[in-house]
Symmetry: C2
């Protein structure tokens, strides 16, 4: 554990891949648990603990509230609040105490999360591995990558003990529909377990393992009648594991999730994993039977994602962000075809395209087919054609193809051609992002084609790429002579409003789309990439045209450089905000086979030079640095987004060659401090930080832009 | 509406049959809504209202909180709490006001619930009809009885208006997994609607009907861009219905529920209705297409269940209790065979047998096959064999067959031979009910056989009935000579504890099973019924033996009559409690073809006479009457149960011939006042009243014992 990380007690997601689920622990109190399809921790009690050496009490990890609450049993025995089950059935009551925080240690990595307290230690193993392409992979490969299970190894060291000691691992269910249950009723002898309904479960094997249900952990641990472990009216379920005196025993536990049948509406889909798992019992059995392989894979992933050359802070943020990404992933199946969805953290929007373009860098590394899958479904169901208007002008101009902001929200696919999010008549949050999602499709396609070497897909989508180019041109200016490479018209979909960017909750320095230099640079990247794609497919005229647009865009940006050495965020109305994300766009050509375009001495040397100057001048206290050294994306907003900071750190160092303490170590330290601050640590990895406070985009998948840092190491060239 | 009912604002369940769901409204605030598989109201806002005549504001029924809460939109636009969607998109903001309570009227019956406020009126129609036997009924008949839908007719009287006025009907969803959605995306033009995920929906037809989603009712009603009605990030969904100036328009609305796929665990079952409805869209379409038939059926049911001869208070309690019963019903299917489950209200235990025996009187009237279904499944999966012990004595005596307390809880079937509820080692709540559930099986079987004239079933279960008889005998005394007809041994399942009765939360006057006169009288009824069943199947010796047991039991009870003219509740340890339910057992022979046995001049005239004396003497203030005239089941407990009171009122009047104000009118008035008291009215129909306060068994199905009152009318003879 990094000594710089002030607190051990931050929530982390421990998630299967593509199961939209998370076993979340780390934050004190009933603040974690087994969450399926939620936008936040499940807020369950998680009970992990051990009997004391003298046998007189239990010690538990702090992931629960053990203060005696309103006894649930009283709801049944209404006239006898003084007559509890506990008093009647126990000889002696053994209290539960929480380990002192000084008695707990934690070792945290991308795939393993290890805790120790007293004579108890446990490690949670989460799968971090590529998802093979379902079109070509074997069932065995897919099943292993997609099993909706995370695993835990729990060790009780009773070598010093003189009596058998009991350990427990369990939770209080929070599903409103189904009760808790014991899995031995349905496991056909394969394992012992507790779970809730058909959706969540924990399971283990072994002669000394018991499963117990009750109103509370107290009633279970104090109950002397093991016959009564099947009592099913309470919401508490525990695995009980006994370790004989003088021994050290290790227990393997599967933490499983399952949603059978149709999982979404709007479009009927099921989880792809239901191909191999008929129910949660199958999942538990598979996880326990493949424990060793998952453990080995986890240790491999830990090494992969903490390479030499990256700092402890960097590795921490990579690990933490990948975990929250996987918690939002959901691999569905529609009409026999896979459908890859990344839900948007606390908001649960599905495949929000302006997140896809950032998560791209992780997905092309792990499983490029998911990128293709997203592109295909955006084109098939969530593309639309619009018209365009200048602001305040009623005249309608030709538009073109573009893409919806997202594919739905909370397991509901939105209707074709529309997102769940975009509204007419607005100029701020919830307005349309027509220009941005158009360029996002181009950028994602360009990177995918290059990294996957997928010429077939490129050729099949060439007409779409041409239509996208035309749509880009029309958004610049209806008169070709007047084009400057920068968006000047808003989509008719805005209904008289104005388009926004992904930075929907910032001020206009990043929130307004039209004439915004952040978006302009992404458009520049789009033109650069289109030039290459047209060139490589024998469309020389189009390539030249795209090149011309890229140059116009570059020249426009360069021409707006102020005497103070920065480019104002919005090229109109005297805006003077200073922003970092103008450099974001440089990342895409780098990965799309156009690395030449982002070289300091390349064809856009003037642009590169201007951006270097810009960044050097804005990355200073009072402009784009907070007092603690954290990056402030805009000089005029206190809302700064870690995912974008990570991306821009990569561009600054690896493309612009700007390094130093303010770019890396000091900034990273501040960003880690944000994430682990007690006010924020409940939400696992979060994106939007308002002066360091996680206020939005919490429990969020977008932080995997952190993997870009690995490409700064020589061994991780993009190709 | 009965003038005696002090408040209109009590929650009532409006439920399909067998769908374990309820549209609950009536109590002010966000205290009702569309609940699926819940043990309580869904606590959603239900929005039903209309634009004012001057168009400047809206008036709503009080089933919602309209105080502006924390604006959900702020979670997305974190830096601009002053920038809302509403301000940006509306010309003028129209406030929502709640109708004054004096401006609202309500007419309440078993199948219709009609409300009026200002120029708005609406009626909810809930199906109340027999469920035909799936073994013999046609698909059409079953589909009509089991469609998981309730219907609403809403009328806007704008005949005095000079402008079109908008009405709304909707709710805020509370499912944790799926978002709200508009059903026109999937209805293929069949209707307009809003819903949440695949589980709940409201739908209507008509050109002037729109469906809208939003963060709040305020943002929807104030939004001038109808394009934006599809915005899907909020939890509020409304049907919007416009009525032109000078017109009166009626809108038909389907309120639908759906659970697809496997609905339970422990045992894999699905809802039977999934045979005919592939999804909630099918349900909406069916409901809207059969509106007229459902409305006609509802009006018929209203007449059936408010016959001449019953008071308004009686009819109110019949209607209210039947509604809560249906909200707990759940018709499942396992391996192609139907499985009838009545969930236990707030506790959600499945087919709690000591409720089944009370709900029997309703089910044999409506659909006797469900009674047979329950008996069969108790025998097949939830019967067990035990041994017996005298209290404090280690010697083990032969026991016999008996039945578990329930079949599971909260959609989880418990393991075979065990309930979810019963625990070892107890003497109070949660202990075993082995004797009581044994006699319950006999009583239910006897009544079923008689009412359904099902000799085949009787003959097929004759060996079981014989085994039950033997099990009864063994619980009396291992030495035949010492048998007195009353239970004296506890089941080995209690593990050294003591058996209890259904009155698990009362003191020992009703809670203890052994030597309890309530249970003794049910055993007497069991022997009487067994005598008849053995007689009618040519088992004369067994019949004589059963007759002998019945006589012993009667003599035991008579012999304990005190000089004060009552029989103490428990025939040991000098217990002196006075209880009403000793008379419960008289109801079963009456319905099982043994009416002769309960006639004052019949073979048990001594017993009947003793019980008449007993009831007359205990039904007095200071013993078994509360100060307000409500019945107090035990002189030593303040916990009184309405379902049991209803049953005993029937027995008192119709079997014992005891009537008068304290038996009927004054008691009924007090019981209605309990149910409609503001402290209790949230829970719809509740059973356990602690000095008139609903403290347990709320939202409960058991109150259908009220239908017994209908058998007191000459037109409703049991056969």
């Amino acid at each position: 554990m990094n000594d710089n990380i002030s607190s051990l007690f931050f929530n982390a997601q421990h998630s299967p891949i593509g199961a939209f689920s998370s076993f979340t622990i780390g934050y004190p109190g009933a603040k974690g648990g087994l969450g399926l399809e939620l936008g936040a921790p499940a807020n369950q009690n998680v009970y992990i603990g051990i009997q004391s050496r003298d046998g007189e009490y239990y010690e538990a990890m702090p992931f629960c509230d053990v203060a005696p609450g309103d006894d649930e049993a009283k709801r049944y025995d209404v006239e006898h609040s003084d007559r509890g089950i506990v008093e009647e059935t126990v000889a002696s009551h053994k209290p539960i105490r929480i380990f002192g925080s000084g008695a707990i240690s934690r070792t945290f990595a991308v795939s393993t999360d290890s805790w120790r307290g007293g004579d108890l230690e446990f490690t949670v193993y989460s799968p971090v591995m590529p998802v093979p392409d379902p079109a070509t992979a074997s069932d065995d490969e897919l099943r292993f990558a997609l099993a909706p299970v995370v695993l835990t190894e729990l060790t009780v060291d009773n070598s010093q003990g003189t009596e058998a000691r009991r350990a427990f691992f369990g939770y209080t269910g929070s599903d409103p529909y189904a009760a808790m249950r014991r899995l031995e009723d349905t496991s056909e002898g394969r394992f012992i377990g507790v779970g809730q309904g058909r959706m969540t479960a924990i399971a283990a094997r072994g002669d000394s393992v018991n499963a117990a249900l009750g109103f509370s952990i107290d009633t279970i641990l104090s109950n002397d009648h093991s016959d009564n472990f099947a009592f099913s009216l309470g919401n508490c379920g525990l695995l009980l594991m006994d370790t004989p005196a003088g021994q050290r025993c290790t227990f393997q536990i599967a933490i499983s999730f399952y949603r059978g049948g149709l999982a979404t509406s709007g479009l009927d889909t099921n989880y792809l994993y239901t191909r191999w798992f008929a129910n949660i019992e199958d999942v538990c059995e598979y996880g326990l039977s493949h424990f060793a392989e998952y453990k080995a894979a986890a240790e491999l992933a830990d090494r992969d994602f903490s390479p030499d050359g990256l700092s402890t802070d960097q590795c921490f943020m990579i690990a933490h962000s990948i975990r929250s990404y996987y918690g939002s992933t959901q691999l569905l199946e529609h009409d026999g075809e896979p459908l890859w969805v990344v839900n948007e953290g606390e908001y649960r929007m599905m495949n929000t395209f302006d997140l896809t373009v950032d998560q791209l860098f992780f997905e092309i590394r792990m499983n490029p087919w998911t990128v293709r899958n997203e592109l295909d479904f955006f084109l098939e169901r969530y593309s639309y054609h619009d018209y365009l208007q200048f602001p305040g002008d009623g005249e309608v101009h030709p538009g073109g193809v573009t893409f919806a902001h997202d594919m739905g929200v909370g397991n509901v696919f939105s209707r074709p051609r529309f997102s769940s999010y975009e509204l007419s008549g607005l100029r701020g949050c919830f307005s349309y992002m027509s220009q941005e999602q158009l360029v996002n499709w181009i950028l994602v396609a360009g990177v995918y084609i290059e990294v996957a070497c997928d010429e077939n897909w490129r050729n099949a989508n060439l007409e779409t790429l041409k239509a996208c180019f035309l749509s880009m041109l029309n958004r610049d200016h209806p008169d070709p002579e007047k084009r400057d490479g920068v968006m000047s018209l808003d989509s008719s979909r805005t209904g008289g409003g104005a388009e926004i960017t992904t930075y929907d909750s910032l001020d206009e320095s990043l929130g307004q789309a039209r004439n915004n230099i952040y978006l302009a640079m992404k458009c520049w990247a789009g033109y650069v990439i289109l030039q290459r794609l047209f060139d490589s497919t024998g469309n020389g005229n189009l390539a030249a045209h795209a090149n011309d647009q890229a140059k116009r865009c570059a020249n426009t940006l360069i021409s707006h450089m102020t005497s103070d050495g920065f480019i104002p965020a919005v090229l109109e109305h005297g805006n003077a905000s200073k922003i970092i994300p103008v450099i974001e766009g440089l990342a895409y050509p780098f990965f799309a086979g156009c690395a030449e375009a982002v070289k300091p001495q390349g064809p856009y040397s003037g642009l590169l030079s201007a951006l270097s100057t810009h960044l050097t001048n804005v990355l200073v206290p009072g402009a784009c640095l907070f007092a603690d050294g954290a990056w402030k994306l805009s000089s005029t907003s206190n809302n700064s987004w870690l995912s974008k900071i990570y991306l821009c750190q990569f561009v600054a160092r690896h493309i612009l060659g700007i390094s130093g303490d303010q770019v890396t170590a000091r900034a990273d330290g501040a960003h880690v401090a944000w994430l682990t601050d007690n006010d924020n640590a409940y939400w696992a990895w979060s994106d939007q930080m308002l002066s360091g406070r996680a206020v939005g985009s919490r429990y969020y998948p977008r932080g995997v832009t952190s993997v870009l840092w690995m490409y700064e190491l020589s061994v991780y060239e993009p190709k």
